[in-house]
Symmetry: C2
């Protein structure tokens, strides 16, 4: 039962990390639910952080491939022309919706990972290739923005996305039926579109 142990650990850990967060989940809780020995984690993965790394690799891989595929197709359809903001956002965010339907815990985990910010090296390793494609694509969609304003808007996008993957608004109850993650993504794309299309520079009254 060699593969069985490893697989059970991956599935259990992913679920618990997504539900409770990475720090809040102890290895002893994971092994208890998976029904394996504590040392099995260190045998198969080496450490708690490497366990997380393998979980991300397993699920983020397909999502990132789909992102790149959507971007490829959109760019092919556009010929050499720059894509619209909406198309870039769609290629980036839509695969999350697909993933959420079959794997909701993973999406919450991804949100946490981005938001917690601590495990910075892990994020960078798995999303570097995707960002390398999407940052230039988005840059071409809003060429009028200054480099600084553009980078900040990308930053805001990441923040909104991470928070949205983590959960729903909590000041009021919003229906959270299974499968309506796509709806959430549509709201997000509209909002971010508006943000990226906002006029640049000194248009805000900050008189104080």
């Amino acid at each position: 039962m060699t593969e069985n142990t490893k697989e059970r650990l991956l599935e259990t850990a992913q679920r618990l990390f997504g539900q409770q967060g990475y720090d809040a989940t102890s290895l002893r809780h994971i092994i208890a639910e998976a029904g394996v020995n504590l040392a099995a984690i260190h045998y198969h993965f080496g450490s708690k952080e490497e366990l997380l790394d393998e979980i991300i690799q397993r699920s983020a891989g397909p999502v990132n491939e789909q992102r790149l595929a959507l971007l490829d197709r959109a760019e092919a359809e556009a010929g050499g022309c720059p894509l619209s903001v909406e198309k870039v956002l769609h290629a980036f965010l839509w695969p999350m919706s697909t993933a959420a339907d079959e794997n909701p815990e993973f999406v919450r985990l991804m949100g946490r990972i981005h938001a917690e910010g601590m495990l910075h090296t892990i994020v960078q390793r798995h999303f570097q290739a995707v960002l390398a494609r999407f940052v230039p694509a988005m840059r071409k969609a809003v060429p009028h923005l200054s480099p600084e304003e553009f980078l900040w808007r990308m930053h805001f996008m990441i923040g909104a996305m991470a928070h949205t993957m983590c959960g729903a608004p909590d000041f009021t109850r919003v229906t959270e039926a299974p499968g309506d993650f796509s709806r959430r993504i549509e709201f997000l794309i509209r909002f971010l579109s508006g943000g990226f299309h906002a006029p640049e520079g000194a248009g805000v009254e900050v008189k104080e």
Copy 2:
């Protein structure tokens, strides 16, 4: 030296929480830098979480008062008319800029608190009163939005704000001189304004 001990603990803990995060900062690290005994924390605060709670209360209090004062003044100037999105955002976000100049670690800590999401009860306790004023004010600024779309946009705003308080974009180095937090806030207000002003509903091509 009773008050001295408590004060040193509060200041040291705030600095370390902001620099390293809440979970990553051990009580033993705090007491070592503050030069007090481990049990002093539990005597003065009761637990690590209550220590954090008191830190937030101390620094978030003035920020929230300033937020409410700015909102009061803006509403008084407007007579009975709804405020603009920009004015509401300004009243909500600008006090963070003031706080950042004299207390940068606190702002990073606030960002982490919002983003980590775990310490949910703490956030709710300290920001409930502020949200109770700002949610209706913003609602009046965008009355055409459906309730659902409105709540999601508030959610996106919180995410972008939390991520922005935590740090600067990291795919490229952005100048982070002291005192230019206000610049960051201006970028954020512009972006969020665009998001809130975005047209509602089925305007996104999600053909798949």
